[in-house]
């Protein structure tokens, strides 16, 4: 990886991973998926120069297990499971680290693209107030210009007990041309296969987004609605 020049665009991607107790059986597939994702992204040196990736895990609480880094600098983590499925702490942690990352990257003279969040969960949130946490920290009202103008693109991936209703509440934005989309595993789909496909789709999305920079119009390229085997994609808003 070569250090990007001052003024160069950097596209920050945040992977928010559910590691609650119910993910116990899926953790090996999740770890393998993350390793594959990193490998796919860093294969292209241009992509490696333009994108940065961070990994945040959440259960009872949330923590950043991989700080925002260029793909070749990342040591793939070995995640373990345990705890509840609290979404709120994940959004708080993302908000906290992105604000710090933004300040740091700007001080290095880089231009930062709107953050892109990939949110993976297998279930219904235990915390009842996660939607309020999301709205208060990350929501934006384009009509009044109130809220967080640096709101992220959030693409959500749900499987096992995750429902469309819940996925829709955390997918963002719900307005504009770049509406968020969420993916839900089909009944009976193998979860380990689904996780492999999600990792592949995220890698394709990251690479596609990075390559848009060279076209002069950087843009987030989310996975297509039918891009993930075993999952169905839907728009929100």
């Amino acid at each position: 990886m070569s250090q990007p020049a001052a003024g160069q665009v950097v596209m920050p991607f945040y992977l928010l991973c559910d590691v609650s107790g119910s993910m116990w059986v899926d953790i090996p597939a999740l770890n393998a998926g993350i390793a594959q994702l990193q490998s796919d992204i860093m294969r292209d040196p241009v992509v490696d120069d333009l994108t940065m990736l961070s990994i945040i895990t959440f259960a009872d609480t949330a923590r950043t297990v991989v700080p925002l880094s260029f793909p070749t600098e990342i040591q793939p983590p070995t995640l373990t499971s345990g705890g509840l499925t609290n979404f709120g702490p994940a959004f708080r942690e993302f908000h906290r680290v992105f604000e710090a990352d933004r300040v740091r990257l700007k001080s290095e003279g880089k231009r930062i693209f709107r953050p892109c969040v990939f949110f993976l969960t297998d279930g219904e949130p235990t915390d009842g107030d996660y939607a309020q946490v999301f709205a208060s920290l990350l929501g934006f009202d384009p009509a009044t210009r109130q809220g967080n103008a640096r709101y992220p693109y959030v693409t959500a991936f749900g499987f096992r007990e995750a429902t469309a209703e819940t996925m829709a509440t955390i997918t963002y934005p719900t307005f504009g041309e770049k509406r968020g989309r969420y993916f839900l595993a089909r009944e009976g789909a193998s979860i380990s296969d689904v996780l492999t496909h999600i990792a592949g789709a995220i890698a394709t999305s990251v690479v596609g987004s990075a390559l848009s920079v060279s076209s002069g119009t950087p843009q987030y390229t989310p996975p297509a609605n039918d891009a993930i085997a075993g999952m169905d994609g839907s728009y929100v808003g």
């Binding site: 609650s20 009872d60 345990g82 509840l84 279930g123 235990t126 009842g128 096992r160």
Partner: protein
Amino acid sequence: MAVADKRRKIYVTSPGFDDIGQVLRSMNVNYEPFSGSYDCSFLFINCGTSDRVDPRKLADFVDSGGCLYVSDLAGDRLELAFPELFIFDGNGGKAGEIDALVVDRELREISGRIIRIQFDMGAWKVLRHCHGHAIIRSANPGVYADLPVMVSVRRGRGMIFYTCFHNRAQQSAQEQRMLQLLVLKQISIAEGVSVAQVGSSLGVQMDEIRRDFRR
């Protein structure tokens, strides 16, 4: 009035630590005692029952479209009949209260998001994972965090329902109601109708159930 629906042939094993028959009777659902035959549409296996249950016949019963209820320690039968579907973590469940998240959307609309479950005795069977869906999941932090408490698993043409908590003497109104809802849920899935429709067909006052959850 008891419901006598031939499609709803129900067998219940002898009571042990659980007496699901009492829950069925509370909703005027007719059943017959289990006598070793599996020619029914619903089979309820009580925790602690002394009845002999053949694991192979149990698997055949579910594969061919039967709906099976199993509670707590009777999970041993599930381990034998469906070893690939259920992963238990021993019988080390401790006595005490837990808050539980009602995951099932249909039941949640009746019960609310969180209910409280009392395990009045220790040594309940802890379910670690199943290849199905949680209906209720522990919302307590700590050792039971996120563990499934009540689940449904599809297998072949049939369904299996397993619950870690069950009918007992000192039961809260909420727990009693949740077990009633579980029975309604089983019938609703097996017969392709809503829980409310099953409740209505049995003459169950769904508003009373809702009220008990909000007390």
